[in-house]
Amino acid sequence: MKRNKTKLVPVPSKAMIPDRDVARAPVLECINLGITLGGIKAVEDFNFTVGRTEIAGLIGPNGAGKTTVFNLLTKVYQPTTGTVLLNGQDTHGMNTVQVNKAGIARTFQNIRLFKNLSVIDNVKAAMNNEMKYNMLSAILRLRDYRREELAAHHRALKLLSIFDMQDMADLRAGSLPYGAQRRLEIVRALATNPSLLLLDEPAAGMNPSETAELMDSIIKVHEMFQIAIVLIEHDMSLVMNICEGICVLNFGHIIAKGTPEDIQSNPAVIEAYLGRKK
């Protein structure tokens, strides 16, 4: 009986916004978002709402269109249909850089750090928009250069220390162990001051103890910065433990939305993952 009630939520639902957020506008609203790639509707009718301080999960079998959704949100692809509202503002016509300035930051499924830059330079490169000094003061090392660089340096170290990475600051990013590279990507994304953080398979390739550590770090980031986080993840223990709302995609369509408990018992989800019961 209960199961049928929570199955398939077709429109953006306030139910997914945690109670403490209801008074304010959601940070992200996708309305009928869709894209056609090479004649195939990679994502269609994607309606999805993320509350201001929510941790939401985006799950689904491989090829379901999860990363495509991230690419749509960050304007790597321009959507063919639908609207994305970020903090109530329409992102139509914005490019990647503008969307980032407006508050979306992301990590990548396959790590895309600036491998030959040092760890701290990776973080500082992401703070580019914050600093305003010009070329001349950089070459002559004038006061505004020194002041802004120092501030950025301290902030970068502080961000790194969330993940206990401050001691690695001067290492080359490409030389870090795998898990540390994944964490550095999150730090780099946080350096752009996002209000919405998109994590694309943050635990991919991690062992259970690393995953547990990552989970703690994500919760820590969430509590420190009070931002919304959407994560794509295949590790169900991670998703079920930290996500407040979950959205399940299959073949570019949302097949279920709800709390972790709802999703775990949802027949459509079970079918998508395990196949139809014969």
């Binding site: 960050t74 790597v76 490019n95 990647t96 850089v97 980032n100 300035k101 930051a105 992301r106 990548f108 895309r112 750090l113 600036f114 491998k115 030959n116 830059l117 330079d121 990776n122 500082k124 490169a125 992401a126 703070m127 580019n128 928009n129 600093m131 000094y133 070329m135 950089a138 070459i139 090392r141 250069y145 802004e148 660089e149 950025a152 780099r188 994304a189 350096a191 752009t192």
Partner: protein, 293 residues
Amino acid sequence: MTFLNFFINGISLGSIYAIIALGYTMVYGIAKMLNFAHGDVIMIGAYVCFYAISRYKLPAFVGVIGAVLICTILGIIVERLAYKPLRQAPSLAVLITAIGVSYLLQNSALLMWSSNPKFFKPIIARGAFKFFDGQLSISHITILTIATCVLIMIALSVFINRSRLGKAMRACSEDKGAAQLMGINVNATISLTFAIGSGLAAIAGALLCSAYPTLTPTTGSLPGIKAFTAAVFGGIGSIPGAFLGCLMLGVIEIFAKSYISSQLSDAVVFAVLIIVLLVKPAGLLGRMTQEKV
């Protein structure tokens, strides 16, 4: 003592190549394209400088600054009009476009200023410092060239390694997509790279023509090719590599001219290049890119 003289002249020639090569190597590092029109920007810079100094009798430094400004703008315009629309195109198309731009600039210069060589008035007074009873003489322009090159190298490495725009440039050179998603404006960064490279080309043009005063519309192409060669020699994409490669190329060229034959000097230079690349395909300081399989 003549050896030392040749050596210093070689360093000076290498310094000019180094300033040119910076433009090649930075653009290659960030936009992943070979801007073959770079040599012709040198020529335009030299002409601007020539007209400012000889025709309008402006002081030399005004001429150089004017040339830098005009070449910077020219660099940005060329990038906007010719290369930006081809950002997604295969690299061969961009290469052909660059060669096209090179001919466009050369022929425009030919139309505007004719093929008659102009005699370039050096940007500082001719003369030389003499040491050891005149056995060793170092001309003013040689000293100015080396000093300028060292200054530019230091300023540029501070800028690239320490500043926010420098970090943005390095980030773009590694992964444009990721850089964009971290809020770095890739197009502006590429424009900036072209602006810096072209501005430096103007300085190189003024120095080159002060040392070798005949100015024609093709003045820039051979030094351009050689600087590009030197950048490959040092490891393209690497600024210290370009610097080292250019100094070595300059010294080799002068030695070959002095001790072997002035006609064969270019052949010797390129033979050395081929040998180095056979031994170290990535160049002296170039990083081999390893593909993970």
